[in-house]
Symmetry: C2
């Protein structure tokens, strides 16, 4: 897992910088960040941090995909969100000084840069633009989480599955064959929707019968985006 030297990334030239709040840092702060951070390679299945632990820092995703989930009854996961290049993970617990509310697990091999809490908080409190960026980030996530509370409380399974397909489409985009560019097990899809694996399978095959999507193993092709939108956007 540890592979720092090979995968070292220079913040100065890092291509994800523009998407992250780090673009607001000054030259000196970038140098400090570059010096103190640690870049590592993670393989599919690796756990970056565990729910309930104090993280000690924040990770910037340079490459790969992760799922952030909470663990519930009988160890059943509830996926809260995904992280991909340019995303920051672990900042919630660092900034609120609580223990982590999710577990972060690698879905596609990833390179993550670790930034110690102390440095991160220091950067935030000394750079107003950076801290405002972080505020916007957490407020945005809060809005999304609140939306999902409504969905879970009021939408049917069918509506939520359609919505999750749109979420995956928006988050990961399409490959050259128009399949959604992410490989999730049916169980993982169920853990986003908040339902049983079998129920997701049934709903997906319904959508396939109806001509809204096509299925090829784990790959999902969206055939009728508008129809899915209509199904999911009931209010």
């Amino acid at each position: 897992m540890r592979n720092s030297d090979n995968d070292f990334i220079f913040c100065e030239n890092c291509f994800v910088k523009e998407n992250t709040g780090f673009k607001h840092l000054g030259k000196e702060q970038i140098e400090l960040l570059n010096y103190e951070k640690a870049c590592n390679l993670y393989k599919r299945g690796d756990i970056v941090y565990h729910e309930g632990h104090k993280g000690g820092g924040v990770y910037c995703v340079n490459k790969g995909v992760l799922k952030l989930y909470k663990t519930g009854i009988d160890g059943k996961e509830q996926i809260i969100r995904f992280a991909k290049p340019g995303d920051l993970i672990g900042f919630r617990s660092v900034l609120s000084d609580e223990s982590s509310c999710t577990t972060a697990k690698v879905i596609e091999d990833a390179i993550l840069c670790f930034i110690p809490s102390k440095l991160f908080v220091e950067l935030a409190s000394k750079n107003a633009e950076f801290s405002m960026h972080l505020i916007r980030l957490s407020c945005k996530e809060l809005g999304e989480s609140n939306k999902y509370i409504l969905d879970l409380a009021q939408k049917t399974l069918r509506e939520r599955v359609a919505e999750v397909l749109l979420l995956l489409f928006d988050t990961f985009g399409l490959d050259e064959e128009n399949y959604i560019q992410v490989s999730l097990t049916r169980e993982e899809v169920a853990n986003i929707v908040g339902t049983a694996t079998e129920s997701v399978i049934r709903q997906l095959s319904d959508f396939k019968k109806e001509g809204s999507i096509d299925l090829k193993g784990r790959r999902i092709k969206v055939l009728d985006l508008e129809k899915l939108k209509k199904i999911s956007e009931i209010f």
Copy 2:
């Protein structure tokens, strides 16, 4: 509704200041706030702001209780959280520069101080302690919303009702007769739990039969806190 002059509150002496991030403001900033803010009296049933609108500002609750909810299918409300004296509402949309994700409605007559967006953002970006307080606040709320996603996805009705009773207990405390100090309709309780009114009623009367709570109109008395905790804390 407008009653500014009667209810004017001086930020300098405001008793809720210690609970809010405003304690981090300097003398000059407090004066500015005092000068620009507008205090108003709101009656039960008044809507302070609507979901989907750009707020134009933030409200500081000096007195009273509000519910913040999203509107779903057939106008059914999903209550996201409550606000009471010392709480700030509307900051999420102001800070993320999005439209409001909830509607704020007064449950108990309230006095609210309105702070225009421009001033609020300025205070946040010029005062590191204040902005760090806001970051902590939104990150904390994010943690709570994420927890509720898991609950809605995995817990049974019974478990969620018990949990909501504990939430109400924690938020509003007890009156001299040990009843939870808030008056909610059964429908409102259902809109926190995320279920039908009838289901909440049935579950409450089950809890009463089991000796966990007592009911007197809308008032709820907690008889066996530990039992409720055990029911709700299944993981």
